[in-house]
């Protein structure tokens, strides 16, 4: 029933002491009502029976989370990942199977649970922490740390209704993160607050990891699983589809998702004077279309163009950006010294990349045909293509590109080298 009362729940299974949480053949069904009898009249009229179908949100799921592990659970909407997290958090009760929690657990499914706008920040900290399962003494001990973490010292005695939404989230997160659990369940709330606060949160997570705390993270964001977790589980239609190293699981997941979506032309926006235009963009890996793009791939970006008249010295350019983020590069055929005197009719432009330096993540490609001065725009195709880079020939994950670095550690006291882990 309680969050913290579970610490000694099971010490029967000897040898499982490094298992923080065990999910044992868990199934969870929800009733899909045809005619929902949630009034007495309907209930009585149907003779005390509700007509419903059982919908399996989870079907016979088993897994073990080991102490010190950071597990990321991914999956599309309706895959059952949130249901699994809620079962782990003891919010939902499984229909079959059992969940054994061996550690002091806290679940962050919502920030500021039970916050009351009329109460002061101080009162809300105490209330929220108590709801999350902390004892009064613990709250008193950590109160200063919580307030310091939130950075709201001046406002702590004002009613929460006077807070901005940013302040509200900061206070809520400060409480949540200071519950100090051995096992922390998180439901995609990592991306809160401003950049400095996010930085603080990430530091806190890293600190928790260093302290050998166990983390379970449910999210859409494959990026944070890649960066943050050392194991990933892909949940699909209530069953575990893949379980293993984040890079492998996410690649498999992304490939399937891409296959499901086809190559969508939707979202492309075109402008320009139109004497020459890019019909479509093809991405070829080792000369093969629609193959997965990986770091280190031999990639060809092929632009298919068509013209309505003779166009003098046209310049082709592409721009590659992180989806919804920074531009990575914008090479043009002028920089590449490949501008023809004139073009008419149809043709293709190949941009060859021998060893793709992009790191795993979603990217988007825009392309453009301009005059030699780059001022006149014949054609601009925004979002001409989007693609996911999967992990390839480097272990780097943070950032957008790899510099292909080589490392040397020198010094009089430097001895030997350990094997890669």
């Amino acid at each position: 029933m309680s969050l913290l009362g579970r610490v000694n729940a099971t010490d029967e299974a000897a040898g499982s002491d490094d298992v923080a949480l065990r999910v044992d053949h868990v199934s969870k069904t929800f009733r899909v009502h045809h005619e929902r009898a949630n009034s007495l009249k309907a209930f009585v009229a149907s003779g005390g029976r509700n007509r419903y179908d059982d919908f399996y949100a989870l079907r016979d799921v088993s897994l073990e989370v080991r102490t010190g592990e950071a597990l990321g659970i991914i999956g599309h909407n309706g895959s059952g990942k949130s249901t699994l997290l809620k079962c782990m958090a003891q919010i939902l009760t499984p229909n079959e199977g059992e969940i054994v929690v061996n550690k002091r657990m806290a679940a962050l499914l919502e920030l500021g649970a039970g916050f009351h706008p009329e109460l002061s920040g101080r009162d809300n900290v105490f209330l929220n922490a108590a709801i999350l399962g902390m004892a009064r003494k613990e709250i008193e001990e950590r109160f200063d740390a919580i307030v310091a973490f939130s950075g709201l010292e001046e406002f702590i005695d004002s009613p929460v209704k006077t807070y901005s939404s940013g302040m509200y989230v900061r206070l809520a997160f400060a409480v949540a993160i200071n519950v100090d659990p051995e096992l922390l369940l998180i439901d995609e709330i990592l991306a809160v607050g401003d950049v400095t606060f996010q930085q603080k949160c990430m530091e806190k997570f890293v600190e928790l990891r260093e302290q050998n705390r166990t983390l379970v993270l449910v999210t859409h964001d494959t990026g944070s699983v890649r960066h943050f977790c050392d194991r990933a589980i892909w949940l699909d239609h209530g069953t575990i589809k893949a379980d293993g190293k984040p890079a492998d699981v996410i690649d498999e997941y992304t490939e399937t998702m891409l296959g499901a979506e086809e190559t969508s032309q939707g979202g492309a926006v075109r402008r320009g004077s139109g004497e020459i235009w890019v019909e479509r963009v093809e991405l070829l890996v080792d000369g093969v279309a629609d193959a997965p793009v990986r770091t280190g791939s031999k990639l060809t970006i092929r632009l298919h163009f068509d013209t309505s008249e003779v166009v003098p010295n046209p310049v082709f350019a592409v721009q590659i950006s992180r989806l919804g983020g920074a531009m990575v590069c914008a090479p043009s055929s002028r920089d590449g010294d490949a501008v023809p005197e004139s073009i008419s009719g149809k043709g293709t432009v190949d941009i060859d990349v021998a060893d793709l330096p992009l790191l795993p993540g979603p990217f988007v490609l825009h392309c453009e045909v301009t005059g030699y001065g780059r001022q006149h725009i014949y054609d601009h195709l925004q979002n001409a293509a989007s693609f996911d880079v999967l992990s390839g020939n480097t272990d780097e994950v943070d950032g957008l590109v790899t510099l292909r670095p080589t490392w040397q550690v020198t010094g009089t006291g430097v001895h030997g080298k350990i094997d890669k882990q």
């Binding site: 958090a89 919010i91 009760t93 679940a107 919502e110 108590a130």
Partner: protein, 265 residues
């Protein structure tokens, strides 16, 4: 079960009750005065009806010798109102706690218990004010406050039982909310608050008012506070019986249903 988790999480219960008390009347000008104004206004209305519309003589307290309908009325009304308001608020608190129940694992009964703790504090304040009124009318009520407190604890137990049962049932059948409005009225008029049970001529009607679940504790409260006499052992047994049965029934129902709250709300 209910009681054990309540003790284990008494800090949460304490803070939720405190929140309940602090946020009540927050945006009103008169604030806490409302908790007294409500029974006083009812007292005025029913006194006018009793004395001038129906022209009944004020009940005589035996052996206190009091002959003041307003005091008789309040001695019965305050415990009853504690009961009825608590149940109404408890039903709303579980329904209103949906977002919390769906997102956090915590003992759900604390939503209900915190309401009743807060209402009990209000009741004690109201009874203190009523005691002053009794003293002003020359009735030495102070020695009677100890048995009254014991009685109120039994009433609280009864209230917890009913509140747990109905608030849990309401998650599955929202009609409970509306049905309770009618039942509360029925209980109010079937308890001897605005009339005197002994004056009822029809035997079975008199029995209902005297021995019904709310009538029992209303009578006991009137005997203690207004009449100034110890209720009979039979009366105590009656009140305790209703309290224990409802408490057990309510806890059992709530514990059975609460694991499914998160998916039903």
């Amino acid at each position: 079960m209910s009681l054990r988790t309540a003790v284990a999480h008494r800090n949460l219960l304490y803070l939720l009750s405190l929140k309940e008390l602090r946020t009540r009347y927050r945006k009103s000008v008169l604030g806490w005065a409302w908790s007294l104004l409500n029974p006083i206004s009812q007292m005025i209305i029913f006194t006018i009806i009793f004395r001038y519309v129906f022209q009944r003589p004020d009940p005589v307290g035996d052996p206190s010798g009091l002959e003041t309908f307003p005091l008789y009325f309040l001695a019965g009304l305050l415990p009853f109102q504690f009961f009825s308001i608590s149940v109404t608020a408890a039903i709303a608190s579980v329904e209103g706690g949906a977002s919390l129940i769906k997102k956090v694992a915590f003992p759900h009964e604390h939503l209900v218990l915190s309401i009743i703790v807060a209402q009990f504090v209000t009741l004690l304040i109201e009874l203190a004010v009523l005691s002053v009124a009794f003293l002003l009318f020359g009735h030495m009520v102070l020695p009677w406050l100890a048995p009254m407190l014991l009685l109120m604890c039994l009433v609280a137990m009864f209230t917890i039982g009913v509140a747990l049962m109905l608030s849990a049932a309401n998650v599955f059948f929202h009609d409970i909310n509306y049905l309770w409005g009618i039942v509360a009225q029925l209980l109010f008029y079937s308890s001897p608050i605005i009339f005197v049970a002994e004056e009822i001529q029809i035997a079975w009607l008199r029995a209902i008012t005297n021995y019904g679940p709310t009538g029992s504790f209303v009578r006991a409260a009137q005997e203690i506070m207004y009449d100034g006499q110890m209720p009979s052992l039979a009366r105590w047994a009656q009140v305790a019986f209703y309290s224990i049965v409802m408490f057990a029934l309510g806890s059992w129902t709530f514990n059975r249903l609460s694991p499914r709250f998160a998916e039903e709300l």
